[in-house]
């Protein structure tokens, strides 16, 4: 039997994965290893970091040095690793809980510092693993297990947040547009500086059933697509209307000095 050419990037004994049927996290794993394969990344020099939650399990399936199991602290780990050994490629997989809720402060500071890592945010609009609670990216009025009367809070636009905080590569796609998402991940991996790729993703088991009344992944993908517009399309809409959509595109790609530590003294050792 012919082996999948991407199988070699996965840690032995970890399949079948633990995701629910129809979950998008497995797709994102696929996008990433496809991008890494096309770039011929050295997996010996790759560190995969996950916090806690469904997305956080993505690096567990990858055959890399990996850290896992602490909620929201992916970027502090990455900061220590990158400062000690800048040769390593560090990729973070964070859900909306890890990135925007408990780890939100670390996110803005990693952006501000332009830490040279790639963060892939799988935004499934809910806390999936814990049972479908409201998250900082849940759209308004949506019913979740902790917003039985509908979400009253304004959701974060993570890309706008990252751009405002100083991230130097920022992009958003969704799981219905795998080719574009994979291309964005490739660009992010080639970028020197803080790169963030947000991928809006279906969670049929939790978000789908509570918020949209369906656990059918196809219907969820259709809904995500209906809510998605490209940045070109968004530019023709009034801002208020565009902000209700998932705006897709590569928003920022610029060069800035990368973070090398809070105290750097060049040349002092030769004094």
């Amino acid at each position: 039997m012919k082996a999948n050419p991407l199988q070699k990037y996965l840690r032995k004994g970890t399949l079948p994965h633990f995701y629910c049927a129809g979950c998008g996290a497995g797709q994102v794993l696929h996008f990433f290893v496809q991008a890494a394969h096309e770039l011929n990344l050295d997996f010996d020099k790759l560190v995969g970091i996950g916090g806690v939650g469904c997305t956080a399990r993505i690096p567990v399936f990858m055959d890399v040095e990996a850290l896992h199991g602490i909620h929201g602290r992916t970027l502090p780990w990455a900061t220590g690793i990158k400062l000690h050994n800048p040769e390593l490629k560090v990729v973070i997989f964070a859900g909306d809980g890890d990135a925007a809720s408990i780890g939100g402060n670390h996110l803005i500071h990693a952006c501000r510092r332009n830490l040279d890592v790639t963060m892939i945010v799988v935004n499934n609009l809910t806390f999936g693993m814990t049972g479908g609670q409201v998250s900082p990216t849940t759209p308004r009025a949506m019913v979740t297990t902790t917003t039985p009367y509908g979400n009253k809070e304004q959701p974060f636009d993570l890309c706008k947040l990252a751009i405002a905080a100083g991230a130097t590569f920022v992009s958003r796609w969704n799981t219905a547009r795998g080719i574009q998402a994979t291309r964005a991940i490739k660009k992010a991996l080639q970028h020197r500086g803080f790169s963030l790729v947000e991928i809006v993703c279906q969670c049929p088991t939790q978000f789908g059933r509570s918020a949209l009344g369906t656990g059918d992944p196809i219907k969820l993908l259709d809904w995500i697509e209906e809510c998605s517009i490209t940045m070109e399309e968004a530019s023709k809409l009034p801002e208020q209307e565009a902000s209700k959509k998932f705006v897709l595109g590569n928003f920022v790609d610029k060069k800035e000095p990368v973070f090398e530590g809070s105290s750097v003294c060049q040349g002092r050792e030769d004094d």
Partner: protein, 381 residues
Amino acid sequence: MDGKTKRVLTGTHFMLGNYAVVEGAIAAGCDFFAGYPITPANEISERMSERLPEVGGKFLQGEDELCSIYSVTGASLAGAKAMTATASAGYNYMQEGIEYAVAAEVPCVIVDVQRCRGENFATQADVMQVRWGAAGDHEMIVLAPASVQELFDHTVWAFNLAERYRTPVIVLSETTIALMREKLVIPQPEEIEIINRKRPEQPPGEFIPFDGGQEGVPPLPKFGEGYRILHSINPHDPWGGIQWDPDVFEKLYDRILGKIAQHRDDIVQTEGFFLDDAKVVLIAYGSESRPALGAVKEARANGIKAGLLKLVTVWPLPDKEIRAVAEKAEVVLAVEMNVGRYAYEIERLCCGASRVARVTKNRGLVHTTKEVYQAMEEVLG
């Protein structure tokens, strides 16, 4: 100056306690430090920010204590000898990262300069926080220096213990000694014992990353060497695979707790003063051992057979050593700068062997020699 001379500032100094910690760390090979501003630990960060770049290390001022402790664990797994420093209220936040360092067996050093709640006055009120503060079952190694010299020596020792046992080690400092200037003698580099973590002998693929062997301590490769290990807090088997299996969980923590318990005699240190014929024994740790020793000397001058057991490590508990003095003494005095926390352990260990009295002070000030002496006189009647 060559790099080596810069790393170890050999010579006699009149140095601030917080600076002595920095010099101890750098002498031990520390090449990563992260910290968040908090009084009375700030001088550690400040000196680190100047000294580390000089010796090729990295300094990070984290956005909070969580960033500090997790960047320390990340850097350590990447191959650094890493440290953070904080004070009591900041240690609260770090408990989370210390739990990870315990479970994932990440060597690192945490300095806690104890301060009173909401104020920077002196205290020893964290003696239980540092033992029990992290979630889940764990052993903890906690060293209690009592002078500027010991802040240097114990910081070196803390790195050695962390590296040897793949575990977080706490240096339990105090406002008193952290902000005190005293004589410090820094030895020649070759006179300082340095222990580095064991590296795998097998190549990737043959190496079993969480097999502790006889010692219970698995070797630890650096990131980037091709070992591709999963460092998860979740229960993991010897290969690092996450397993929801009661046997895996039990075996993992039997080993992680056992590696400290098994080497208890190598870790625990106490110092005895005038104990041979002592009828009244003071037990103290950290800066409180100083007035306690003063009171013992005064008692001896006045014909009272007093002695001091100074606890150099407060955790693991020096249970045998405490019990041994209780067996010989008539009265044991638990001397502490808090409402009486460690005293519970001393009472438990001395129970049935000798009478125990508490000498506590919880007003942001270290005991004076006179106060300890008077307390001793009262107890003796």
